[in-house]
């Protein structure tokens, strides 16, 4: 008989140890994901009966214990739209600067550190800044404009990081080819780099919408109201918002039927998760289409 491979005792114990650890790590991963899935399904089960056409398109009635969420839904859309007007151009410009122009010096390091800190400063501190700067100093009052500006500054890092990543993913050879044709830097960016990075920028936009729709603390004192019997008419008016509405109906209003806040939470989380899922699908679709 030729010598055949036979597992030694050490091989076997290593193999068993390996299986044990693998199982342990897998169950830790499962413990991270499962409780949240259970919680989400409870939200769906208890919130789904509330969802109806009337719930989405009627004003709250009887001290917010009945009726729908129409003004809050619309208010969130207004805040998101105004937020995009500020966050997208500034965020994309910052990303273009960092990816295409910035030299490796102290200023660039300062900008990067500032971006990390903008994302790390507590949302309620952003709210204080919004009150001090936009509501009082620039005299926008508590308004959609002040709220949207506050959220835009808070979520700026999201747009910058997503855009910068997609700009840096464009191969350097594309730039060199363009420069060698005599194009200026800006012509290169506008005609070659941006079109190739558009998928990343749109992903950033979708994520920005989702983040903005979910934020509560920064809009609480800058432009979102507990209750308004009418819709805002300009960006200088206050508005209701879905995220704050969830806080209000679950903590501030007496005698709310139990299912109502579950319905509001479901609509809010639905918007946020659909937006995020969209960005993931979009990203992987475009990744598949890339030619380099």
């Amino acid at each position: 008989m030729t010598a055949r491979f036979a597992a030694t005792a050490l091989n076997l114990s290593n193999y068993r140890a390996e299986k044990r650890y693998r199982l342990m790590l897998f169950s830790m991963t499962a413990m991270l994901v499962l409780p949240v899935l259970i919680i989400l399904s409870i939200l769906v089960i208890r919130g789904a009966p509330m969802i109806s056409f009337e719930f989405l398109f009627e004003f709250p009635r009887a001290g917010m214990t009945e009726g729908g969420i129409y003004p809050a839904l619309l208010g969130t859309i207004f805040i998101v739209l105004v937020d995009l007007v500020f966050a997208m151009p500034i965020g994309v410009a910052a990303a273009i600067y960092l990816s295409e122009y910035a030299p490796d010096n102290w200023l660039t390091r300062a900008i990067n550190l500032a971006i990390i800190n903008l994302a790390g400063v507590p949302s309620i501190v952003h709210a204080l800044f919004g009150v001090g700067a936009f509501v009082i100093f620039f005299q926008f009052g508590t308004s959609i404009l002040a709220a949207a500006l506050t959220v835009a500054i808070m979520t700026l890092p999201l747009v910058i990081v997503a855009t910068r990543e997609s700009l840096q993913a464009v191969p350097h050879a594309f730039r060199e080819a363009c420069w060698s044709m005599g194009a200026t830097r800006w012509q290169t960016i506008f005609t070659v780099i941006l079109p190739n990075a558009i998928s990343g920028i749109l992903t950033g936009l979708i994520l920005e919408v989702s983040r903005t729709a979910g934020e509560t603390a920064p809009i609480m004192f800058t432009g979102a109201a507990f209750f308004l019997p009418f819709l805002p008419e300009s960006v200088f008016d206050q508005t209701m918002a879905l995220s704050l509405h969830l806080f209000v109906v679950s903590t501030q209003v007496p005698n709310v039927p139990e299912a109502l806040p579950f319905g509001v939470a479901l609509v809010l989380i639905g918007i946020v998760l659909i937006m995020n899922a969209l960005s993931i699908v979009f990203r992987s679709y475009l990744r598949g289409k890339k030619k380099w």
Partner: protein, 305 residues
């Protein structure tokens, strides 16, 4: 000099496209520098609103040494100790909850999972990180509250444990993502070298990958702590919001952030109470700034090596 004249003079002209190029460079620079302007602006504006309080009503000893936060009494006192302890205790529980799961999940996703499983897990973690803080707060208030009352047989389910678990679940996906990035950054040749020596997968992880990724993992935990200090809505709704030095996880507490969120709407602009809330904001800003800076320096430590 002679060479320079060889260049066609046309290329040296400052024509329209040269000016457009410069103009856009300046515009992009303004965008880039705006992040620095905003972060300085945040500090300037919250300091401006809190300054009057810091010079008049503020006493260092009272702020950090007293547990009496009584801004509305006839003889108001502004002791933030209970709030600081509240925030710290919730963050402590949250980190205890989040560390094992996030590091465990990161190791599994990075070192064991492959193909479709890996993609699915990453997408799930990303979706978990997207759940808004007010929804987490509502989950604490409704579902987790009932759960804790039922399981531990306590009268109130809104306490350190509730807010800590909620915050831990919120922080875990973010920590997982950062930790996974740190593990991914460990070069494959380290793993291959260890494998060539006959090490098993687990031995490679324990003795090669985890030590090599140490800094990134520490920074993941630090960012989790920063998140815990700064979280507002979830903590406000799940902690019970009672000023209290907790002696057990079942005591209600009140956090720094939650105090600002709950009281700012009731104060008159420019009043002492209003200034005191901005002073809390300055304190929070500085703490999170230091934590983020530390996390950044720790990560930079790896790159230098």
């Amino acid at each position: 000099m002679a060479e320079k004249s060889a260049v066609p003079s046309r290329l040296d002209q400052r024509d329209a496209s040269w000016f457009i190029d410069k103009l856009f460079q300046v515009l992009m620079f303004v965008g880039g520098i705006s992040a620095v302007i905003f972060i300085i602006g945040i500090f300037v504006f919250i300091t401006k609103e809190g300054l009057a309080f810091l010079f008049e009503g503020f006493s260092f000893l009272e702020f950090f040494g007293s547990i009496n936060w009584r801004p509305t009494s006839t003889n108001p006192t502004y002791g933030a100790l209970a709030l600081i302890v509240g925030t710290a205790s919730i963050t402590g529980v949250a980190i205890l909850v989040a560390i094992p799961f996030s590091i465990g999940a990161a190791v599994y996703i990075s070192e064991f999972a492959t193909g479709k499983t890996k993609e699915t897990l990453k997408v799930l973690v990303e979706l978990l990180a997207a759940i808004p803080s007010v929804v987490w707060g509502f989950i604490g208030l409704s579902i987790m509250n009932e759960f804790i009352i039922e399981v531990f047989d306590v009268p109130i389910g809104l306490n350190v444990l509730n807010a800590g678990i909620i915050l831990g679940l919120m922080a875990a996906p973010i920590m997982t993502t950062i930790a996974e990035d740190a593990l991914k950054a460990v070069p494959d040749k380290y793993r291959e070298a260890a494998e060539a020596m006959g090490a098993t997968r687990w031995q490679i992880i324990r003795q090669v990958v985890l030590p090599a990724a140490k800094n990134g993992l520490v920074s993941a935990v630090l960012l989790g702590v920063g998140r815990g200090f700064g979280e507002t809505m979830a903590v406000l709704m799940a902690s019970g919001h009672a000023i209290n030095i907790p002696t057990s996880p079942f005591d209600s507490v009140r956090a720094l952030t939650a105090t600002i969120a709950a009281e700012l709407g009731e104060t008159a602009q420019g009043s002492e109470h209003y200034g005191a809330l901005f002073a809390l904001g300055i304190f929070l800003f500085l703490i999170t700034f230091i934590i983020n800076l530390a996390a950044d320096l720790v990560v930079r430590g790896i790159r230098k090596k």
